[in-house]
């Protein structure tokens, strides 16, 4: 595992951008672009990432970046990959599709599923900040149970869909779950994905101070807490073989109980209308999933 001091020093995310203070995307994007050494072309739909990228004629990133329509991120990456291949330039750059949870799991899932079934040659990275943050915090299919959004004022009633599992079901060569709070984990997974051909899917939990209602200084702390609670689990599925990575692997190895979900819930304004009962519901959902992950870790399946 790469240590933070070992990350390349070249920066592709320029100083100063339009992302909110404490945005998890900014932390991760530095690691992602370093892993690809800037030899990449991104497809980016309407999202927080568009805002981070800057307004014409200025840009906050030093890599080729194609803005695309909301539902089209994966198909756009497929097109860029096909175009580069047709022109004999496919070896020069990695195609990276990068979209939020709504852009991936809701409006973008059709194009993504098509590209995954075809095993098109690009990395798809979903930064999951758990709602439509760029449009003002509306619920998405990946918003967690209990979270208040501007379309679920009393708290969302449903659990989020498990996108990495959906992607696994496409039998693509690489699926990973990571967190923006662990930039070296992000770096290592993108680095590994870079050298695999076909569709590689990376799901990245991305704390959002404005949408989740917490102090911007706590982005990394909350991202790590989510992992400690088992709400976010770091893992890889390589060629169909499952294994936990980083902090999640360490937690599994230690065999101690996870941090209670209630501690995580208490840190964010979005959960303030949750009752003890609904927190208990989420806790049992998390426990059940964690048991499942431990079983997968044991069997590798």
């Amino acid at each position: 595992m790469t240590r933070i001091t070992e990350l390349p020093t070249t920066e592709y995310v320029l100083p100063g951008n339009r992302a909110c203070a404490g945005c998890g995307i900014g932390i991760a994007l530095r690691a992602i672009t370093k892993a690809l050494d800037g030899k990449m072309v991104m497809t980016v739909p309407a999202s927080c990432l568009t805002v981070l990228g800057g307004m014409y004629p200025t840009s906050s990133v030093n890599v080729p970046w194609i803005n695309v329509a909301f539902p089209s991120t994966a198909a756009a990456a497929a097109g860029a990959a096909a175009g580069l291949r047709a022109m004999g330039k496919a070896d020069d750059m990695t195609v990276l599709a990068m979209a939020g949870d709504g852009g991936t799991g809701d409006i973008g899932i059709q194009a993504l599923s098509g590209a995954a079934e075809r095993n098109d040659d690009f990395i798809y990275l979903c930064y999951d900040n758990e709602a439509y943050m760029n449009t003002g915090t509306q619920r998405s299919g990946l918003t967690p149970h209990g979270a208040r959004t501007t379309t679920t004022w009393a708290g969302k009633r449903e659990n989020p869909k498990d996108l990495p599992r959906i992607m696994e079901a496409h039998n693509i060569p690489y699926v990973a779950s990571t967190s923006a709070a662990y930039p070296t984990d992000v770096y290592d997974k993108v680095l590994k994905a870079r050298d695999i051909r076909g569709l590689r899917y990376i799901h990245m939990n991305t704390p959002c101070p404005s949408g989740w209602s917490f102090d911007p200084k706590d982005t990394v702390r909350l991202g790590k807490l989510a992992v400690d609670c088992g709400i976010v689990v770091l893992y890889e599925v390589e060629g169909g073989v499952f294994h936990l990575t980083g902090r999640s692997a360490a937690l599994a190895k230690a065999g101690k109980p996870l941090t209670p979900v209630a501690e995580y819930v208490a840190t964010q304004g979005r959960f303030k209308s949750m009752t003890a009962e609904s927190i208990a519901e989420v806790q049992s959902w998390v426990d059940e999933r964690w048991t499942g992950y431990l079983e997968r870790e044991r069997t590798g399946k």
Binding site: V41, G53, M55, V61, W65, V68, A69, A78
Partner: protein
């Protein structure tokens, strides 16, 4: 050059191959499907060295073309009706991103209710999206126009729709002269000089948020705002009024055959009534003209090849001195009238002694329109004009009372 008896869809596929397209993406829809089935077979056999992306929807088909074109490839897709409507967001994107994409449209009626047969409502509904739209009157024009479309698109950095009537042309065989690869290579060089640059050594942020007003870049140079980009795009479409006939002339020198540039006419010179339409209907109209002329009625055909940009000046000039223009639309702006009729009226507004313009709606959902029907509609229009009528609701050709319509 060899002569082959082929469908319109085969003519489109052959044209894409002759254009040496590098990336093809398409989703099946009747009556377009045979175009991409044919191309897919050629890509599989190695006869056409291109990437073929079998996307899961039309939205993704045009998306793949958009980004493949952005990185510099020559791309092709084709669709019809609801497929085009499903692409709508990307139709605008392709144009706004100024990409030289060529898309064939086998024109088909829009649902609901389902109907797979021909009219032109699908592409006419996209007229404002910033694409060049060319309509073909026969299979030869489908081949020639599709090849020409790449020249036009790549000269102006605008996408081009090549529209041809579903089934009437897409599935009907006709003799078509197929140019040799050498002839087309001489006419259409490989795509160079893309507007956008995708290069890790010179990175660009392509198509970011753009405000209404110009802003200065890091070097202090003022760059266009959204509205300036729109004005530039409009300028390119207006420039197409010059480029389309130029490209047609270049094609004529390379291949020995032209399509008529923006518009063309048949026996219109001495006529005092012009029959106006786009697509295969114009071929029908030439037959209607034969029978009307036999009765001593001086009519001619004015065929519209370029619908966008709209060749207003050329139409004014071709209709100068006529007393009546009868427009046959296979599409409708509901609550108003046929799109060509409406546009022609606007174009003639500034003419000295403009002709009266009467519109007709015909052929919706594949309703058969014979030359006899067209001649009948022309006679009714002439009678109305003779009676001093200057404004009239569209004449719905062959709408039958027993069907509940009046």
């Amino acid at each position: 050059m060899t002569t082959r008896v082929i469908t319109g869809n085969e003519a489109a596929a052959i044209a894409a191959k002759l254009a040496r397209v590098q990336v093809i993406a398409a989703y099946p829809i009747t009556p377009q499907s045979p175009v991409v089935e044919t191309l897919s077979a050629w890509v599989e056999s190695g006869e056409l060295p291109a990437e073929f992306v079998t996307v899961e929807s039309e939205h993704s088909a045009l998306t793949v073309c958009i980004t493949a074109s952005t990185v510099g490839a020559r791309v092709f897709t084709a669709t019809s009706a609801n497929g085009l409507a499903y692409m709508n967001e990307q139709v605008w994107w392709a144009a706004g991103a100024r990409l030289p994409i060529v898309m064939c449209i086998a024109n088909r009626a829009m649902a609901a209710p389902w109907n797979v047969l021909n009219d032109q409502q699908d592409s006419m509904s996209e007229r404002d999206a910033g694409w060049v739209q060319l309509y073909c009157r026969d299979n030869q024009e489908i081949l020639d126009t599709t090849v020409q479309a790449y020249r036009i698109a790549e000269r102006l950095n605008v996408p081009v729709m090549v529209c041809y009537d579903g089934f009437l042309l897409s599935h009907t065989v006709m003799p078509v002269d197929v140019p040799s690869a050498e002839q087309i290579d001489a006419f259409l060089p490989p795509r160079t000089d893309p507007l956008q640059l995708v290069d890790a050594n010179d990175p660009r942020n392509i198509g970011p948020v753009t405000l209404a007003d110009p802003r200065t870049d890091a070097d202090g140079v003022a760059r266009p705002g959204y509205m300036e980009f729109r004005a530039l795009h409009h300028g390119a479409l207006l420039e197409a009024l010059e480029v389309i006939p130029e490209v047609d002339a270049e094609y004529a020198s390379a291949v020995g055959r032209a399509c008529g540039g923006l518009t063309w006419e048949y026996q219109l010179g001495d006529a005092d009534v012009g029959l106006v339409a786009a697509g295969s209907l114009t071929t029908q109209l030439t037959l209607a003209v034969e029978s009307l002329r036999a009765e001593g009625v001086r009519v001619g055909v004015l065929g519209i090849r370029a619908y966008r940009p709209f060749p207003a000046a050329e139409l004014r000039s071709r209709l100068a001195g006529k007393r009546l223009a009868v427009v046959f639309d296979k599409a409708l702006s509901y609550g108003y009238e046929g799109p060509i009729a409406a546009d022609l009226k606007a174009a003639l507004h500034s003419a000295e002694k403009p002709p009266v313009v009467f519109g007709c709606i015909c052929g919706l959902g594949g309703r058969d329109v014979s030359p006899k029907d067209l001649a009948g509609a022309a006679r009714r229009a002439i009678a109305d004009a003779d009676a001093g009528v200057r404004e009239r609701k569209p004449d719905w050709i062959n709408v039958r009372p027993e069907g509940g319509a009046r």
